[in-house]
């Protein structure tokens, strides 16, 4: 079965900036593909190319088997898009926003109103249906935006950083809604800056950096390669730092970093922390601090690419969203 989304060597330049430098990835039908990367990595550009908003300079994008450059109209009949900035019309009510899309898609007035009411109910917006979207909270606006992208029952959905700027509660709500979609066989391409979000939602993840794919795999693959968590240890006596480092290196099977009297090592395995504690106890090292924390995107990058995730300067970001 051919993939629902296929990007093959996509290149896109904006003047001197190369937003995409030969990105290739694909999404299997009915799955969520997480495109993970820092600001300016090319995530939005890739989404815009595949959603037919931007023509690539090189390479080929296939969505639902149709070429995004030569058959954009056919691609558009299959897709829904929720952009980084909520694309709802703030002057219109929730109902009017959805009716607008339904009418544009050729639905009759009555059918459009029914579809709007159905989606508003599904996204918990029935009470706010008659209010202008500008009075909505950020979370409500994102939900309305997601609802708007679903009016035409798309088989393939592009979600470009859908939870950026949302509070944790709204974010969790949105996650639940995305999970519900794939149950119906919808293919989702989700871009995110958050490792946790990709981990929560994606069946497969591609890590993108400076316009190219630097790693791909299931969340589990990537976590075991990069360490989903980081174990941090600070010995009570600084002279025992080397002993701690050696134990961590041996048990974790990875090279720890030593910074400011603290040893950090990727913890791919939940059993690492108790094992380290036991061993350090055996060799008589006492710890002033022991922390198991989630790996940051930066650390995943470091582990996967050997360099830190470099935040693009703001002008790149502007151009990417342009």
């Amino acid at each position: 079965m051919p993939p629902a989304i296929e990007a093959d060597g996509l290149v896109k330049r904006f003047g001197a900036t190369t937003a995409l430098a030969g990105a290739s990835f694909s999404a299997t039908e009915g799955t969520v593909l997480g495109v993970l990367g820092p600001n300016g990595a090319g995530k939005t550009t890739a989404t815009r190319v595949l959603a037919t908003l931007l023509a690539p300079d090189e390479g080929r994008g296939l969505v639902g088997g149709f070429d995004v450059v030569t058959e954009p109209h056919r691609v558009r009949t299959l897709i829904g898009l929720t952009g980084q900035y909520a694309g709802v019309d703030e002057a219109l009510t929730g109902t009017e926003n959805l009716v607008l899309i339904a009418r544009l898609l050729g639905q009759r007035r009555a059918a459009a109103k029914m579809r709007a009411a159905e989606l508003l109910a599904q996204f918990g917006l029935t009470d706010a249906a008659g209010r202008a979207a500008r009075t909505y909270s950020g979370g409500m606006r994102r939900r309305l935006d997601l609802a708007a992208s679903l009016v035409g029952r798309p088989r393939i959905l592009f979600l470009d950083e859908p939870t950026t700027g949302l509070d944790p509660a709204s974010r969790n709500e949105l996650w639940d809604m995305v999970r519900g979609l794939t149950d119906d066989g919808v293919t989702v391409l989700l871009t995110t800056q958050y490792l946790e979000e990709a981990d929560q939602l994606a069946d497969d993840i591609v890590v993108i950096d400076r316009g190219t794919v630097v790693a791909r795999g299931t969340p589990l693959d990537l976590k075991s390669r990069a360490g989903a968590a980081v174990l941090q240890m600070r010995p009570t006596q600084p002279e025992q730092l080397e002993a701690v480092r050696a134990v961590a290196a041996e048990l974790a099977g990875a090279e720890p970093t030593v910074e400011q009297g603290t040893v950090s090592v990727p913890a791919a395995d939940d059993a690492l922390m108790p094992a380290v504690v036991r061993r350090l106890d055996d060799v008589g090292v006492s710890l002033a601090e022991l922390t198991l924390r989630r790996a940051t995107l930066d650390e995943v990058f470091l582990a996967l690419t050997g360099h830190r995730a470099i935040e693009a300067d703001p002008t790149d970001d502007l151009q990417e969203s342009a």
Binding site: R74, E90, L100
Partner: protein, 279 residues
């Protein structure tokens, strides 16, 4: 370009075998229906934005009252005589100010991502623009009716025929449609409704006030007369005066339309280029 355009399209994996493949393009009927839907949206926006209703109704009324009663006596000798002269000018100026709506609406859509949403839909590429412009034409007509009604209430006498009044409507719509291309370009380049207001009025104020909309050309210094006499606002104001209260029409109407053609010829392609490359 490594894109292989000759490769056959693969079947749509997500389409059921029994369902025909989606169409390749939009039919003219679909285009018309989509444009009407977009125009509906643009009109519904007014309902939820009282300040726009104010701009469309109260502001033209204020201008009529201000120019008639405050300046009218001084400029025209009497308020009555001045109103007969100035209403054509007020209509021309107001129409140009209203074209700003095309730019602010477009800039808002671009800024908020609404435009991206539209472009990701299987609709005609031009529908968002044609719908908006259709909505703006309706705004023009509304505002024109308000201005004429207030004028008549204050003593403005239409001394020509209903056909001439309709021709005035037609001329106004034709010119503002052509002039709207400048607004489309501004909206795309500015991408910010507030900047649109600033840039727009920076151009529109001198354009509309350095005309004979409010005062006869002969009263101005020579260097200004040179510009005022060719200014499209002057020519349109004169054509509207001719169509509403009598006087020469043909030369002014033709000049107005030629200006319209010039604006469309210069700014139309630029606006389309900007829409293609900057969105």
């Amino acid at each position: 370009m490594t894109l292989d355009r000759t490769a056959p399209a693969r079947p749509a994996v997500t389409t059921d075998p029994g369902v025909p493949a989606p169409s390749r393009r939009v039919s003219p009927t679909q285009w018309a229906s989509q444009s009407l839907t977009m125009a509906w949206r643009s009109i519904v926006q007014i309902k939820h934005n009282p300040s726009e209703l104010l701009d469309l109704s109260i502001q033209p009324i204020m201008f009529v009252l201000l120019f008639t009663f405050v300046f009218g006596g001084a400029i025209g000798g009497s308020t009555d005589a001045y109103l007969q002269f100035s209403l054509g000018g007020l209509i021309a100026q107001n129409a140009l100010f209203l074209t700003i709506y095309t730019a602010t609406g477009l800039a808002t859509d671009l800024q908020k991502g609404t435009f991206d949403r539209f472009r990701s839909l299987p609709i005609a590429r031009s529908a968002p623009l044609s719908g908006r412009i259709l909505g703006d034409v309706l705004r023009q007509l509304w505002s024109l009716v308000v201005l004429l009604a207030v004028g008549v209430l204050l003593g403005f006498r239409i001394t020509t025929s209903p056909v001439a009044v309709l021709a005035a409507f037609g001329l106004l719509v034709a010119f503002t449609l052509a002039f709207s291309w400048t607004s489309v370009l501004l909206g795309v380049l500015a991408r910010d409704p507030e900047k649109v207001q600033i840039y727009g009025f920076t151009v529109l104020f001198p354009l509309t006030f350095a005309s004979n909309a409010f005062a006869p050309t002969e009263t101005m210094p020579g260097w200004l007369q040179a510009w005022v006499s060719i200014n499209p606002v002057t020519r349109m104001a004169d054509a509207l005066r001719g169509l509403l209260v009598g006087g020469p029409v043909a030369a002014n109407a033709i000049a107005t339309l030629l200006w319209g053609v010039a604006f469309a010829a210069v700014f139309g392609p630029l606006a389309v280029w900007a829409l293609r490359t900057r969105t």
